[in-house]
Symmetry: D2
Subunit: 308 residues, 4 copies
């Protein structure tokens, strides 16, 4: 009955419940700080899921200092996968994931078979109280920690600050991924929830440094599919207080990030992955390939910033 | 692979293919003119689908001069139904539907088991060409006629006029349900597609008369769940050119219509159904019941217009 | 102290106060029903106001069955005129205006020297009560009848329905020009204010017929600068209940109307005026001339509908 | 002929032209880094400008480490001032301004009598090229340096990045005030214009620290009317690289800042000024006083952050 697209459930490769017992006895929350790529789903030319190439990508990601991976997000073309494909993709990711990495999934990883839509559908009726009720129900019943997810560009609904503050007190809600990019809001959320040990992740590499500056602890960044090491470097510079170096690196990531997200979308992300040694490939219909002009512009966004 | 939430596939209770052969030999398109309620789904107090009460409603609707019924729309809380429940709801509706009525369904009625999301998800990439490609693919492969569906309030995406004009030439695309309510656009669409015998339906009772005035031939109207006869009367007055009477009736439907749609949503629709002898009942979470103040306002919207 | 861009004050060429005394003793409101072009301001090549060509246009408009003229609207490039130019333009229009025509002006016609901005500036604070207070103050102190003006595309602020209903009871507020084009709202406004003899004008030729269908009594239409007789014909067909003929004419006006307003703006309006025997000419900076491609498209919008 | 609301012209109390000659011979741009309050205009109970109280405020501001003052912005209720009042207010501010402070004015300071509207009026036609043409014309003819001003919440128009980059090369355009708060955009603008010695100012205290983190050099902050020393302290902490202290101070300024700007507007700004020893007073109509409930909420925003 739960709508979980606005949620991200956390799974460790093994022993999620073991962890949970431990962490609860210790009174500590799961540490989710760090960088996560929301992974893409490679397809064959006939638009079937290419599991072999997915495995190849996962192997490469395994050598990068990511905190974990996100599956079944919009960058994975999740809305265009069948339920069976979703299950299989998550299974593959779990198998490839190193022991110490986290897996965040758009909807329950191994357990759930129902496809459950996001509560933004009736957004006109989704006031703070409705959202608090709903998310509390999900968090109560989830065997794994929950990360809230606010992405107004997709849902037309910004999870209200007062709802987040109240939900941050739930023992099974450990953080928030905020993709809106309103840095004032992110700072306010950090201020208002830090007594709860609540953790805020930036939803994009474009404002990652600014988010760290105001107290965020990591990011879920599409660009990390392409420039994974560099995004991790930026996070590390921020954590170390080397802000001048961080700023220079941040500048060079903005245009590539915008290009593979808002500007040209998943087809651009997959194209850029090809340039950097990953398997991207075609998108599933109705997503179209990039036009030649867009492709050229995309290349410029990377080359003019010194990445190609 | 197809995203079909933006589509509405038409089924007659029986013999869809028979009809199809007939109509094709006659070179005529299916006549979809008339009024359709997008039916609500009654739940028990424990939020299970109440199939018995659904049947009761369907029986009552059977006696009204509707052209047909729409299932699996947002008024049916379709996003909060499981795949199994969706199949069962459609089955019930098909059983109850009189021979001469049409059934429009948000996704394939009896045949398809995959749940397929709407192509608005990557709306930033959904230009006219992408949408034309996509919808053509669906219409090519569908065994039943297709009605386009543009609902920008929900999808953030207005199906572009040029795409609709081109798609109107497809032999298996018979019409459009337009819920945006931009009357200039609706008039333009009628003008530009009438050589194709393409049929435009208004997506709301609020602008039903104006839509008829500029050439629409019917409507899919949430309010028809409550005031079904009256909405049909309004359509009939328009078709007969009795515009002065139509105007007076239209006025009285605007506030009730806004109240059960944009203003208070599905909980209000179900409450109003109760007042008029239908089974509404609770909504499934996270939709909340109306507050007392909203309930009182809802009643005023009906009573001040002479319906209660 | 009053912000009057949201208002339109009505002046008859002479004897506004005489009329006012008469009408008040008779207990009747000024009849504003009919069509008004919001006139353009011709410039010379050096971007000075070309008063001679303005006079020429006014002479031609004098022979058309307009109810009156609107000056100092956005189509007159009012925001780019100096206060002195505004005064002079209004003076010229008053001189040219036949006795029986009305003059509506964006801000007081002959008298006022202060330029007063619209109350939409602090739109976040402009709730219904603030707007009612403000407009009541203006209407109380105005020596000529007032027409409310709601144009959300420009102001980001839709004059709320409840405010309009209350303001319709003011003896010196005679009507509303609504440019939003939400036909449901227009119908509701007519329904809710007709006991006050309040008159609603459509703010565009694009939805003029639909507005008449739901009870509007006229329109302020940029397209009337170009196709003045045709827009008046459309109004007359609606008033006479010849809806089938009206519909055919309405269809042919939609694309030309959109082209000279939302799509290509004032430069297109002035270009089209040239084609139909009026003086349009260049726009004042920073408005740019049309590109060649836009110019060609503009011509198609008129020619494909049989006007060129 | 110029629309200058999107511009801010810089005047030093004396010798603007002297400075200009000096700086040009030195080949350097005016240094605008630092904090500026956009000053409020006190009114008497009868809504007349209270010049005495304005002087009192200016005296107090003179003792704070501001880089300068901004007059004739929206916080000064500029849209509701008459042209004469605007001239007089600027005159007073110039008299009170210490030698080493800068004066930024919404439209030319001492010289101009024409009121010139912002080019956002025809925003649908204001593409990058139109805006570049326009601003270049103004900067060419201005005797004082020009600061661009992008405030999409008011104008519905975000000055495009490519236009800013090109305009940054103009010798008389020294910087940008960006009130949109999109931190990714601000970082990109700094990156793309720093070879030109172009200076970016944050348009709000809410994202001041984040703006400094990505390379901005100051801010025009409504909150500086109330907590002037604290906003200057925040800027100083950022400039000194004391980011941990800056973060703590930034947190405490977010809620007060939102309250006196977006949330409750100028009436709240003036109320808060009273609490901190400045003259605020009533607003001019149609701006209404705060309701009691809003007033109480406003107080909480300051007290819960330790300022009251």
């Amino acid at each position: 009955m739960f709508a979980t697209r606005s949620f991200t459930l956390l799974c460790r490769r093994s022993a999620a419940s073991a962890w949970r017992n431990n962490s609860q006895s210790a009174g500590e929350r799961l540490d989710i700080s760090g960088i996560y790529p929301p992974i893409a789903t490679p397809f064959t030319q006939s638009e079937d899921v290419d599991y072999q190439r997915l495995d190849d990508n996962l192997k490469k990601y395994g050598s990068l200092p990511f905190r974990g991976l996100v599956v079944q997000g919009s960058n994975g073309e999740y809305p265009h996968l069948t339920p069976q494909e979703r299950v299989e993709v998550v299974k593959r990711v779990k198998q490839a994931l190193p022991e110490d990495k986290l897996l965040m999934a758009g909807s329950g990883c191994e357990c759930k078979s129902l496809l459950l839509v996001t509560p933004c559908f009736y957004r006109g009726r989704m006031d703070s109280q409705a959202l608090i009720n709903h998310y509390t129900k999900v968090a109560d019943s989830s065997s794994v920690p929950v990360v809230l997810y606010s992405v107004p560009a997709n849902t037309g609904l910004d999870l209200p600050v007062d709802a987040i503050i109240q939900l941050s007190q739930h023992p099974n809600i450990v953080g928030l991924k905020d993709s809106g990019g309103d840095i004032t809001r992110i700072a306010l959320l950090v201020q208002k929830t830090r007594s709860q040990d609540f953790q805020v992740l930036a939803g994009s590499a474009g404002f990652l440094m600014a988010a760290f500056a105001v107290g965020a602890v990591g990011g879920v960044c599409a660009l990390a599919n392409v420039l994974g090491q560099q995004v991790c470097d930026l996070a590390q510079l921020c954590v170390s207080g080397r802000w001048d170096e961080a700023r220079e690196l941040q500048y060079r990531l903005i245009e590539p990030n915008t290009a593979v997200t808002r500007q040209y979308g998943v087809p651009a992300l997959k194209q850029a992955m090809q340039w950097f040694g990953y398997h991207g490939g075609v998108c599933r219909s109705p997503l179209k390939p990039l036009s030649k002009a867009d492709l050229e512009q995309l290349r410029v966004k990377f080359s003019s910033n010194g990445w190609l």
